[in-house]
Symmetry: C2
Subunit: 382 residues, 2 copies
């Protein structure tokens, strides 16, 4: 599958330019990995290095302009982007600031506006002092927010994007199906984590960007912790939550297992999680709100008490492990075909014990479709 | 090995407070993964999710204050930090801004200064609109740069940190030693990448945050690209460059192999890379400058022409894949015991072909010590 045809990026650019026109923006200035990749297809793990800033400018018309460190030129040269401006970074005197300011002055008229993603889930990936210097060099052009354009665009996945997310989910599905071979009584949780990542790679993950989980008697105390060396014990519930990457797109779902027979309370709690995600799946359709899915799940889980400290019952998914929207009462995003969501109900069982469950779905014209293979309806026993 | 004793974090905090006093700062405000972890020990892969902002405040005296989403409270509660203030994130109305502003108003007097990392290699990990809102709520307290305090502190690794980096390097060493078992003529490069990550996990990596590389006749065209499905061919030079994580610390070095016999030109280029890193190792001692190591390598590689488009011949290493300093002519950082560096000479062989080589070292009282097992002096053949 790998990268997209140039038409995908052209369509994104054209759509962005229509939204920019509506919002009175003369350019978008982008600096983070998913933003740069969204308009260029530039895929590399080199973002792991925080040293160098990278920029893409989407002008009011015409293709994007990449303003990047010269180390990235060979790879960017393989994308559909042809206007690639480079400097030898790191440059302590001027780490791309003059170059990107000059490019913005070219494409934005005096008095014009540059849109920069500024709202929830965004950040600016460059030093504050570079950001200040950049703004002073724009000569009567101002930076403001991007009018939510990046969010609005990335909320809706193309068919090509959905296919990649589905492929990532299939990798995680296949790895989860093999967990009984790596997790048994006495195995340290840290070993389970290493082996599970190996299974993901064997099943076709390009890399494994996220793995969290837990194990404990009848539930676990934390859902975002790295593994400890504590051995699995009879009566533990083991949970693994992974984000595998395939062709630049993520899966994000978890699975639970009981080490030996589970108590009736644990089985019942697990069944309630499944009931909650089933209910959300049934409610997931164009026109429903993100908040509706929260309330449907919260009705099953707490009788409508308003959720838990985890803060939400699911979220968007795609180029990043988590994206907009959030399944919370305050999120009134109207669901549309092409939105990819996680359904992530959780139960606090008291005494610092939690159970969580997660599926990945895509909104279709008429309802929703699972991208993950739904979890067993009864807590599986290892 | 795992986490540090509380004394490590206490010592860091005390040292930061002395530097803050010198710089006239009343608090540090930190928002990125390594910054938060540096003062708390909070280690999680959950940072992969961009949704929620996280904050740590280092006051002028006393322990750090964590201002974090409630989902992180159980794990933060296991660290030495006891003042943990949480909100249920995501909160579209106020995603931590009031809480962190309130904490800053408590510990910073009116007219006081808050230091925020603002220089090279830093960024602010929160939405621009939250950053603006936060500043308006500080009531006669101002945010400025952190006077380079985070950089100065993190440049020098403690013995406990060096031990963790050495452990990560040992994992990569062991995985590199097994590459002849996974890479042969006909193997797609993408399969080599998957298998190599598996080897890193088998050898004890907690996770593999970085893998890049390339393969091509007598050299490769790119050193930061993800793998293609192109099969390895006789005459290819294969390069794998990995950053494995163990107990929260990185290795970062690469290795090269020739598929079948290499040409004299390729063998000679490889030997020159080794000669360059040897020369830099010999020059690496307290009192030398980062720039000195650049010039020593550049003398061997280009006769002193001034480097290549990659921009540098090495960099710092630790909690992140790359850290300050950079081995470039403009970097006059004075080397001190406890600095961990990569030596990363590269040669452009023309026609879009490159060879690179990398070692990891730590500066000692009298010179330097290898953390990676130095590469073979002759290009190894598979």
């Amino acid at each position: 599958m790998s990268g997209f045809a140039a038409g995908e990026f052209q369509a994104r650019t054209t759509r962005a330019q229509a939204l920019m026109d509506d919002a009175g923006l003369d350019a978008l200035l982008l600096s983070t990995e998913p933003e740069v990749r969204y308009f260029t297809g530039y895929l590399t793990r080199f973002w792991e290095s925080p040293t160098r800033p990278w920029f893409v400018i989407v002008p009011a018309s015409g293709p994007p302009i990449a303003v990047i460190p010269s180390i990235g030129a060979p790879l960017m040269g393989q994308t559909w982007v042809h206007d690639i401006r480079t400097w030898r970074s790191p440059d302590y005197g001027d780490d791309g600031v003059s170059l990107v300011a000059g490019a913005l002055r070219e494409v934005v008229p005096k008095g014009g506006k540059v849109g920069v993603p500024s709202g929830p889930e965004t950040h600016l990936r460059l030093p504050l002092e570079s950001w200040r210097a950049l703004q002073t060099r724009l000569e009567d052009r101002v930076c403001g927010d991007d009018a939510g354009i990046m969010r609005r665009m990335r909320l809706i996945k193309s068919d090509a994007e959905v296919a990649r997310i589905a492929a990532a989910c299939a990798v995680a599905d296949a790895a989860f199906a093999r967990v009984s071979g790596i997790a048994r009584e006495g195995t340290p949780l840290s070993q389970v984590f290493r082996d599970f990542q190996r299974l993901c790679l064997e099943e076709g993950a390009d890399w494994v960007s996220y793995l969290a989980g837990g194990a404990g008697q009848g539930g676990y105390g934390d859902i975002i912790a790295p593994a400890t060396d504590t051995p699995l014990a009879a009566g533990d519930v083991l949970m693994l939550d992974t984000g595998v990457v395939r062709d630049g797109y993520f899966s994000d779902f978890d699975r639970n297992w009981s080490l030996g027979a589970a108590t009736p309370e644990t089985r019942s709690a697990y069944a309630r999680l499944i009931e909650a995600s089933d209910a959300a799946f049934a409610a997931a359709r164009p026109g429903a709100l993100a908040a509706d899915l929260f309330h449907v799940m919260d009705g099953v889980l707490t009788g409508g008490a308003g959720g838990s400290d985890a803060g939400r019952y699911g979220h968007g998914l795609g180029m990043q492990l988590t994206e907009w929207p959030s399944l919370i009462p305050a999120d009134h995003t109207v669901l549309e075909p092409g939105m990819v969501l996680t359904l992530e109900p959780g139960l606090e069982l008291g005494r610092g014990k939690t159970l969580v469950h997660e599926e990945n779905i895509v909104i279709t014209e008429t309802g929703a479709r699972y991208l993950s293979t739904p979890a067993p309806r009864v807590l599986p026993v290892i």
